[in-house]
Amino acid sequence: MDENKAAFEPRIIAFVCNWCTYAGADLTGTSRIKYATNVEIVRFPCTGRIDFMLLLKAFAAGADGIIVSGCHPNDCHYTSGNFHARRRWIVFRGLLDFLGIDVRRIHYYWVSAAEGAKWAEVVNQTVAEIRELGPYTEYKKVANYIEETEAAHE
């Protein structure tokens, strides 16, 4: 990997459901599979609980990338939370793309409680791809209200 790219360590937030992906990530741990440190996990009861606003807030707070992951279709602990989430993401993603928000920075996965190895792959792959994309400067720029106003004055 070239030196400059390696210098950038992306900040990534993972929104995961408690029953599948959180448990899957636990299994990665118990299996002692190593992965990149860039991802911080937030635990939700279900992907159905993940508010699209929280994704936007993560970007606003400085995330360079986001992982959303839950139970595979038909495996939801609450039977249909992931189906509701899937619909929400289909619509949301289309809207973000139309607005020019970089949808390549939001990665969606199904990771079950048995897929410890997959979780490590998911993290490493996402980190690599976001590293390739570089920091999400354009979003950070509008997120910073003060800098933005100052820029306008100049």
């Binding site: 360590e9 900040r11 937030i13 959180y22 448990a23 990530a25 636990d26 299994l27 990665t28 741990g29 118990t30 002692r32 599979i33 190593k34 992965y35 440190t37 911080e40 996990i41 937030v42 635990r43 939700f44 009861p45 279900c46 159905g48 609980r49 993940i50 508010d51 699209f52 929280l54 807030k57 993560a58 707070a61 400085g62 995330a63 602990h77 609450y78 039977t79 249909s80 939370g81 509701h84 989430a85 929400r88 490590a120």
Partner: protein, 668 residues
Amino acid sequence: MSKIGVFICHCGENISATVDCARVAQAAAEMEGVAYATDYKYMCSEPGQQLIRQAIREHNLDGVVVGSCSPRMHEPTFRRACAEAGLNPYLCEIANLREHCSWVHEKGEATTQKAIDIVQGLVEKVRRNQPLTPIRVPVTKKALVIGGGIAGIQAALDIANCGHRVILVEKEPSIGGHMAQLSETFPTLDCSQCILTPRMVEVAQHPNITLYTYAEVESVEGFIGNFKATIRLKAKSVDEKKCTGCGLCTTKCPNKKIPGEFNEGLGTRTAIYVPFPQAVPNKPVIDKEHCNYYQKGKCRVCEKFCPTGAITFDQPDQFITEEVGAIVVTTGFRVLPTSFFPEYGYGRYKDVITGIQFERLASASGPTMGEIRRPSDGTVPKKVVFIACCGSRDPAKGIPYCSKICCMYTAKHAMLYQHKVHDGESTVFYMDIRAGGKNYEEFVRRAIEEDKVNYVRGRVARVYERADGKLVVRGVDTLLGAQQVEIEADMVVLATAGVANPGAEELAQKLHISYDPYHFFAEAHPKLRPVETNTAGIYLAGACQAPKDIPETVATASGAAAKVVSLLSQDDLVREPLVAVVNRCAPPVYSTCVGCFLCQTACPYQAIEREEIKDRQGRVIKTVAKVNPGLCQGCGTCVSFCRSKAIDIQGYSNEQMYAEVNALLNHE
């Protein structure tokens, strides 16, 4: 200003090998709102827990973050420790420093920094945690069992024997279900009625069981522990108290040619009838659709002959309501009729029958007294062809699933036929033989090897009646190089697919339980919660879930009964308070919920109800959503759907999650 305590566990060396635990504790001590932070070798050990309890008391902590293993491991342990020190257990959160950090990263600065971030996220979250109390739901100690087949009978008896009261509702005039129709049962060939009827009698005599036959569930309201069921008692036109069950009326009824349901149309019954001799209760009902008096206004012969004056023509349907704490659905299944199959003659050929009709022919109590005779002319068929998988495993027929019981009962039928007609010839067309079960494979082998049943692996394309009236079965033998075979048969028995009962969908909607594309009721979890539904307090057993044989049906019935008994043995139901709540606020707003109720379909548990907010005069000011904490399972789908953020979920509230996300990213 909050006073959070942070406790970093080394987990021996499991965490401390790669994470600098002391530095994490140090960093935590400097976080806003943190009053105390420390690290310790084994936080889950008794001294470790004591350390937490002591710190809570000494520093008056109002929140705790334990940085340790996964919350899925020790969250209950640490929450209990907090509770012991007088802190509400829901004010304790676990930072997963082992599975999500120390075990998956190498030793280094980044790893320690990540641990600090995780702790920071949870500190911010816990600052916004609310003390919660477990939800208590009172339980009505009575169960409703819907359907009086073997599953319902077993479930009712098991529950009743544990000392709880049971209401058993059966829509037919007698309990017994399909099992009462069967001749012998595989793989032991013991007589079905001989093992079933004693249980039927036990139900009737059990002091804890109230039996309503000829009755149907009209509606169900309420939730776990607190259901209210309305039951329609269809008018039997016979006063059960006066009727002695002498049966004189059934011998006198002039309308004798009605195809009997119990004999699957192979025998007849009268308009006033008892479905079968061993029926429970053994008292007749009048089938209004076929009764001369109800249809034409004249007759009343039964009334004239009844020695006790039990006939009550003007009896209306009655409605009763029962309050119950749990419901078991055991409504069973049915098999497709032969008219479903155009390729087998659409039910036009009298001697093409279903498996259940064959059961009646083979049954000693059946229309032929157990002799195998053709429905068309009453002769003994010398050549019988059995066709397995009629409809089942055939996506073109809309039934891609395996009906599971047919392989076994077809083997049994062929065997019974060979036992009864010694010079008979039987052929079974099959796709695969699925004989998984105790002594099942041996049973099938016996049919093939000892009873010389001719098994042909292949599908039957067509059954047709030649102009001379002979049935011709045209199929293929795939083990003989896909050769076409044509067999003349005196009788053809179709192992037609087991399908959901008509009305299953309607009942599911009444009960708010889900069903699969084939209208079989859906389990809460196919493996780990096989007798529960998605609606708490409603359980399933038997073939209403999918075709099942008797042992499996009885096993699920006892399983469902165990679930019911464990529920009814509690005075109160205690549930985790991690449920959704619709906000309430001061007048004139009352709640920021605008009552669009679009959230109702987002809830998989029908937990969202309507609540009317009224003024002092009782006028409705506003109708808003209300989450029934007895039903809510805490998925939070409604929370992220609600536009005005009027619904929030305890334990994962908007404020908490927002704060956690921000805190995780809030450093350079």
